[in-house]
Symmetry: C2
């Protein structure tokens, strides 16, 4: 039986809302012992916005509530930091300095610490002090200018928190990379900018832009046989034809004999340019049969396609179930206490994501683990103004 | 001077297009020695779709061209795999078995190998053999059902390859996590599914859905003071008001005294529900002044906002420049040979992303590094049918 990859790695987490907690959730799932510090009495605002999301992101951590305006709380942070491999914070730039837990201060108590700061625009540059949320980082990185209908203005398209998640993912990778360095490596400050992280995910499109010297959204978003189509039963499928052989397969399936053999339709860029011919004909064709018919026919014809699904479909998705992405109770309903926090199976020699134990932790609440954490430091919680122990909340 | 985190880690990469190469690009940037195998004569199709994107993703690797249908080529793969910590492949499930380079085969030559398979739906389950592209994985994970205008049908919204990139990011994290395990750990198979990776990024929204028992897109996408607004000069800004104090700041700035003090507008969920009152009034207000006026005023009032930018703005973005995300030539133009492949600075004690050396590599082409790689293995390229050495291409 292998150990989890981050077993024995202690991480001190002073973040809230999404980017920081989503990052440390993954690290905890990979085996790290994450101690999350939350505002005494108030907690993480995510607990109010979405209790389920809060639990998902933080249930696998130890929860310590502190009032960071108290000197005693800062002393506790430093004591824990002295024994932690990693410190993660998500305050606006400047706040940690004011609190006395900036990089320099924690380096003094732990000369090898990996100090990860997650902020909207990074710790330097003219934007560092601006307030912002996910939408603003997506916006400044340019995502809206290449999204949505090519014939319309910029749109804020996505139902997910793309820039927040981008920062989370790069924070995890940076921390894991720093953990690869020898243990006696001097302390490092990892400066994660959500805006720059978002922009990194746009680099493949940016390089296309550089190639073609054309900023037009149509170059990215105008795509003939690559889009969403409605079926006879008022449902939708997505079609993902990129390569010529898939295009030929599609034309044959739909009975478009004229197009199947027409070399003037060959090539991804060509088909994008001719989308005003292609799209209407495809729309009419797919509207003639039900979704299930098309999924089966497209699969048999070897054409990339899938259903357009919603959350209410997740519970019925055989692929999600068979790959262990979601779990069911014995009565067939969704197991709401057992969601994957990391989607990759380490198949051999053991699935070390601990499927059985996963998410069986005690429900999280503010200061849940105060007693145990402080006891180990030799501190009685009653000493500390503003700090509430487990039982009094 | 510290070593790069992955210095000394050899990675054998048999991937093409986006998900695999984007993953190994990051690993190479973090110091790994990536040997990328490409089809002899043909290369990676990305080289035709977007030469700039191909160079960005693969320029920091060693490039070996092989015809994998030749037994000699498989012998070479095995020889390199025997000395590699990591193997990454992105074929459709089943192909590596046919070629003789599946997990079992490579485990025989390297009992500690980290074998990472990146595929659309994963190596198991009913969808494993389906063809697919980025759009199909986004679609089946449900992203389209929560994106776009809340009053309209599903939309394929985003200009970036969200699912492909999700798989890349989880592949990197899985590989780095596996590298944390001791060197004598038995071989591991990391089964990365692009669809499940995409779904993982939707988990925060899925948990909201579970909380509220309502699948309606309006709950996610209907957002009063959180959206895009047009300004007098026909440009656009993004507004990111989530918390009440930002809402009050905004109302005061815009002169909405009635709303600033109205407690019935408090709360994120309340404002989303009242978007049909809020949005038109904001639209009218922002249309009265130019973008630059608003950016300055919103910043002074401490309201989260930013410009909606496009790629043609990147070169002028002071934040990108000051944080080193993009570089300029001495004449002020964009340095097109110097793009960041990893956005996080490791500020102390050294910026180990090697800013100066970065992207100064020889331009990539098919089989660029054949000679050097094969020479080390004691193989003359002339032995190998279908393998073209550097000079003959």
């Amino acid at each position: 039986m292998n150990r989890l990859p981050l077993a024995g790695v202690q991480i001190l987490d002073c973040t809230a809302l999404l980017p920081g907690p989503y990052c440390t959730m993954m690290l905890a799932e990979l085996g790290a012992d994450v101690i999350k510090v939350e505002r005494a009495g108030v907690g993480d605002f995510m607990g109010q916005m979405s209790p389920g999301c809060y639990k998902y992101m933080n249930g696998n951590k130890r929860l310590l509530s502190l009032n960071l305006k108290e000197p005693k709380a800062i002393e506790i942070i430093k004591k824990i930091a002295a024994n932690s491999a990693v410190f993660v914070e998500g305050f606006r730039p400047g706040v940690v300095k004011r609190l006395g837990i900036d990089f320099e201060s924690l380096k003094d108590v732990n000369p090898h610490i990996i100090y990860c700061s997650i902020s909207g625009y990074g710790q330097t540059g003219p934007n560092r002090d601006l307030p912002g949320h996910d939408i603003n980082y997506q916006s400044i990185a340019g995502l809206f200018s290449i999204s949505g209908d090519p014939d319309q203005g910029p749109v804020f398209p996505s139902g997910i928190q793309t820039a927040d998640i981008a920062g989370s993912m790069y924070a995890v990778i940076s921390i894991l990379a720093a953990l690869q360095q020898p243990g006696d490596t001097p302390a490092r400050l990892l400066d994660v900018s959500l805006a720059n992280s978002m922009a990194s995910w746009m680099m493949p499109r940016f390089m296309e832009f550089i190639d073609r010297r054309q900023p037009q959204k149509a170059k990215f978003m105008g795509r003939g046989p690559y889009g969403i189509f409605e079926t006879l039963d008022d449902r939708y499928l997505s079609l993902g034809v990129v390569e010529d052989h898939f295009w030929v397969n599609l034309c044959k399936l739909l009975g478009f004999k004229d197009w199947a053999n027409d070399k003037s339709f060959r090539g991804w860029i060509t088909r994008n340019e001719r989308r005003h011919e292609i799209t209407p004909r495809l729309e009419a064709a797919f509207k003639t049969k039900d979704l299930e018919y098309w999924l089966s026919a497209l699969s048999d014809a070897d054409v990339p396609a899938s259903a357009v699904r919603g959350f209410d479909d997740w519970i019925h998705d055989k692929q999600f179930k068979e790959t262990g992405f979601i779990a069911q109770n014995s009565d067939g309903t969704l197991d709401e206490n057992n969601f994957r926090r990391f989607p990759v199976d380490f198949v051999e020699p053991v699935d070390f994501i601990k499927k059985d134990e996963k998410n069986k932790e005690e429900a999280p609440f503010i200061g849940r683990d105060n007693d145990a954490i402080l006891q180990k430091l030799g501190i009685s919680f009653t000493e500390i103004a503003g700090l509430k122990a487990k039982k009094v909340i």
